[in-house]
Symmetry: C2
Subunit: 265 residues, 2 copies
């Protein structure tokens, strides 16, 4: 009995299928609430959060606890449930500013970690009807594997970040220096930027001040499409990272981006 | 015969129906090209433009010249065709950076002016399947009239702009001062921000460095939903405006935004 339970829990197909069902659950709740009201509240950190945010996280937590009672859960809204070495990291609505302004670029992020290493990631875009799912080193979009552009150099790169407001002043200067060397830069997109990168539509995404639930699901999506995603010092992203992230379409571009961010001038 | 022609040309229903058909035309061409390639070229002003951009403008120009041979046309890609007092102002793809990065927030903008006053405006969002259409003082979204939020004060306002990169340094300081007093600010959206404002999802949009084809179609959409849209000095937007625009959910908010942008501190 114990063996059977352990087998099911570590079965990647079962985990993947379950994560897909979690994303369906999130999508349906998000769609019910999206554009249904313009009311919003402020959290302690002043970021707006909606009723949908809590409803989605609660539904996902209940589903995980039913299906995998031993697993840990870390969610944006309801904190950490300590469990075994298998941990679900959830952001019910990434891009709450988008959500409350009727902008369809918010997403639900689902990551599954073993021993703190992200093994599976889902970027679900409820209002767009789009989903990136990554496990076993492959990222799928609309049912097909997707690949990054393979862009190699900063001057040919299309660079994204969400907002100047996520950067500390010194980090903003570093981002300015990097992004102004690029072919183009654009603002706004939250998790969607990383999906676009995985599908080859942009080449470099740089952000700061992210929390583990903001970035854990993105790592398998970016890397399963042939990209790289680390902190600004090139270290793998873990639960204790400092929240500064770089995602790149190729290893060469990643090296160059890290170097540009590190330069003192 | 002359009378009949004049009647048809100034018939608002005929103009509206025709503008809707133009938007259909643009939508179909845009969808053919969206995400079909990651190639792009740079124009003289360094903004990227796609094959779709030119194909859409050409198709719209041909349609206008066939249907209303006397009308003038001003388009982003192919310049101005001088005509009578009736002028079509076209932006085939507003948000080219969005378009070339696979981001569905680009739109086609269609304005119809009589004696340089915008009488009709369409914001068509091809990849999202959404359209705002305004004429005779009413803005429709998805077949129903829409209204702004009516938000009255800056500290309750959800504020949008496309990018810090559109502002001259002094104007950016003014925008910073205004937007940091707001309930929240978000970046990225191009023409879509004004549609969201017309539907009550955000409250204030401020931009600079826009061209007439970027803003002319937006004025009837914003004002037909109960909002206001002027330049930073409160003057109506015309073909000769300086490209700095403010759109607000209410007259009171508009006054306050103009005052905040004008303050020297």
């Amino acid at each position: 009995m114990q063996c059977e339970v352990l087998f099911v829990m570590s079965d990647p197909v079962a985990i993947f299928t379950f994560a897909d069902a979690l994303a369906d659950l999130a999508r349906d709740i998000a769609r019910e609430h999206f554009r249904s009201t313009t009311a919003f509240e402020l959290k302690a950190d002043a970021s707006p959060v909606t009723v949908a945010d809590r409803a989605i996280e609660l539904a996902m937590r209940v589903a995980i606890q039913e299906r995998f009672p031993g697993h840990g859960i870390l969610g944006e809204e309801m904190g950490r449930l300590v469990g075994d070495d298998q941990l679900w990291v959830l952001d019910p609505i990434d891009g709450t500013k988008a959500f409350i302004t009727g902008m369809p670029l918010f997403g639900t992020l689902i990551a599954y970690l073993e021993e703190e290493v992200p093994r599976l990631g889902v970027i679900e875009m409820p209002a767009l009807g789009e989903r990136w799912s990554a496990s076993l080193g492959v990222t799928a979009f609309a049912g097909n594997p997707c690949r990054t552009s393979g862009c190699l150099s900063i001057d040919e790169a299309r660079v994204y970040t969400s907002s100047p407001d996520v950067f500390a002043a010194a980090d903003w200067q570093r981002y300015e220096r990097l992004s102004k060397r690029a072919a183009m830069r654009r603002f706004g997109g939250d998790c969607y930027m990383y999906g676009l990168l995985a599908s080859g539509h942009c080449d470099l995404v740089v952000e700061a001040a992210l929390m583990p639930y903001d970035y854990m699901a993105l790592v398998p999506v970016v890397e399963g499409a042939g990209g790289l995603m680390t902190d600004w010092d090139g270290r793998p992203l873990g639960l204790g990272s400092d929240g500064r992230v770089v995602a790149s379409a190729s290893a060469a571009l990643h090296d160059r981006a890290l170097k540009a961010l590190a330069e003192n001038s």
